[in-house]
């Protein structure tokens, strides 16, 4: 276990704080005491390993992975692709990337979602994949619709896809959301406003990527994800440099 390098401290001023009054649910679900700062131990520097035996190649194709034979989900077909990197700009290979989303009408296939938009019989709304050696991943899916939610009376979520990323260690664990370039609801969303810095918000907005689109088939959006970086030195051993 000697080759587990420690992670840089997480920038808590860049990340959303736990309590943000505009996002009402956070008010009762945010700790009030300060977090206890913990230097990394083997418990934080290790993590589960996922392999190709765990998941099916079709899992990353949301257009096909729940559709009835010969049918397709309704909506704008998109490719969502990008790389998982760390703060040192190194690719993170073999990262588990899982996504979930509403359908084109803004409705989730979840037994607790009661929005009036219809369920799409051919759309499950989840996918998962592992990054390759260069940290690259892609999904094929349907662009999700905006939907209303109960926060202020008239709040709408911009179109978004939830991302869960598992890198090399428990300390790198990240859940986030990807938004789409040009969506006018981004600036209005109380959940996005939990992030204090507009440059940080920009990191969550995927640009249209016409180069990666498939003519007469799918548009493409590019979404790169950055996980925490780690020192190049050995665990508890700074002899080699930084």
């Amino acid at each position: 276990m000697d080759n587990f390098a420690e992670y840089y401290q997480r920038d808590r001023e860049w990340q959303p704080s736990a309590l943000s009054s505009g996002y009402k649910t956070s008010v009762a679900r945010s700790p009030q005491y300060a977090l206890i700062s913990l230097e990394n131990t083997v418990s934080e520097l290790t993590g589960p390993r996922f392999g190709h035996a765990d998941i099916d190649p079709l899992d990353k194709d949301l257009i096909q992975n729940f559709a009835n034979s010969g049918e397709s989900p309704i909506g704008e077909r998109i490719i969502l692709h990008g790389r998982v990197l760390d703060e040192n700009r190194r690719p993170v290979p073999n990262a588990l990337v899982e996504i979930w989303q509403a359908n084109a009408g803004g409705r989730y296939r979840h037994k607790k979602d009661t929005y009036l938009a219809p369920i799409d019989p051919n759309f499950g709304g989840c996918g998962r994949t592992l990054t390759d050696e260069q940290g690259y991943y892609f999904f094929r899916t349907i662009k999700p619709g905006a939907y209303p939610w109960r926060n202020w009376v008239n709040n709408w979520r911009p179109a978004h896809i939830h991302f869960s990323v598992f890198g090399e260690a428990f300390a790198q664990r990240l859940v986030t959301q990807c938004y789409f370039e040009g969506d006018p609801l981004i600036d209005k969303c109380p959940i996005i406003k939990t992030i204090p810095d507009s440059k940080a918000i920009d990191m969550l907005v995927a640009p249209l990527d016409l180069n990666a689109s498939v003519p007469l088939d799918s548009l493409a959006y590019k979404f790169d994800i950055v996980l925490r970086g780690r020192r190049s030195t050995l665990f508890e051993n700074r002899l080699e440099g930084n």
Binding site: D11, P16, A28, R29, L35, D56, D59, L227
Partner: protein, 206 residues
């Protein structure tokens, strides 16, 4: 202006929302899609050590159990070894150490089966008492919360655990201790996570 250090910034976190199950535990959302859901079996059939059940709730600032929480757990085996990517024989075949646990949509109660972990190495040659690392996400949690579960009956090891001893108010250390009970020879530990108030669970910036 000096040169740019050229590091990237970490992608900002966003809440997992109320429908995290669709992505990470779709069976609970009401539909089957994957051949196998991840994190369903933590220890596997071959793990040595004491088989235990851990159960609890996550309580919000109003005293109510959260009914849409997802918890990930990470632990060593009974010898204190974590899964090693470079040595697949380090732990028992089938032992992943990783769990995904969701609360009941009506009651907010959650539970999982595992084996009791052993002591693990700490920093500077110290020993860490047996513990399970936990990561908690839900609607309204803007960035996942990290905490640890320790076992109340490991009195001696807990007393010298370097992480528990980092917590300056001694009364707060008890918030990380799971309470043991035995019924019909089966060991259960109770661990409630409290998000706010005098009994707020200790959360870590790791």
């Amino acid at each position: 202006m000096a040169q740019d250090l050229d590091y990237l910034k970490e992608t900002p976190s966003q809440t997992a929302g109320p429908y995290v199950h669709i992505g990470l535990a779709p069976g609970a959302a009401g539909f089957d899609i994957y051949r196998r859901e991840l994190g369903a079996d933590i220890a596997g059939p071959n793990a040595r050590g004491e088989r235990i059940r851990i159960e609890g709730s996550v309580i919000d600032g109003s005293g109510s159990p959260i009914k849409d929480v997802l918890i990930e757990t990470w632990q060593a085996n009974s010898k204190g070894l974590y899964v090693d990517p470079n040595d697949s024989s380090a732990v028992e075949d089938g032992f992943s150490g990783f769990g995904r646990v969701i609360s009941d949509f009506e009651t907010g109660k959650w539970a999982f089966e595992t084996i009791k972990p052993g002591s693990t190495p700490g920093r500077n040659g110290k020993v860490q008492a047996p513990h399970v690392s936990m990561w908690i996400v839900a609607r309204g949690i803007n960035i996942g919360l990290n905490t640890r579960l320790y076992f109340e009956d490991e009195t001696d090891l807990n007393a010298t655990d370097p992480v528990l001893n980092l917590i300056e108010p001694e009364n707060r250390r008890a918030t990380l201790l799971a309470k043991r009970s035995e019924t019909k020879g089966k060991t259960t530990y109770r661990f409630d996570v409290v998000l706010q108030g005098l009994n707020e669970t200790v959360f870590f910036d790791i």
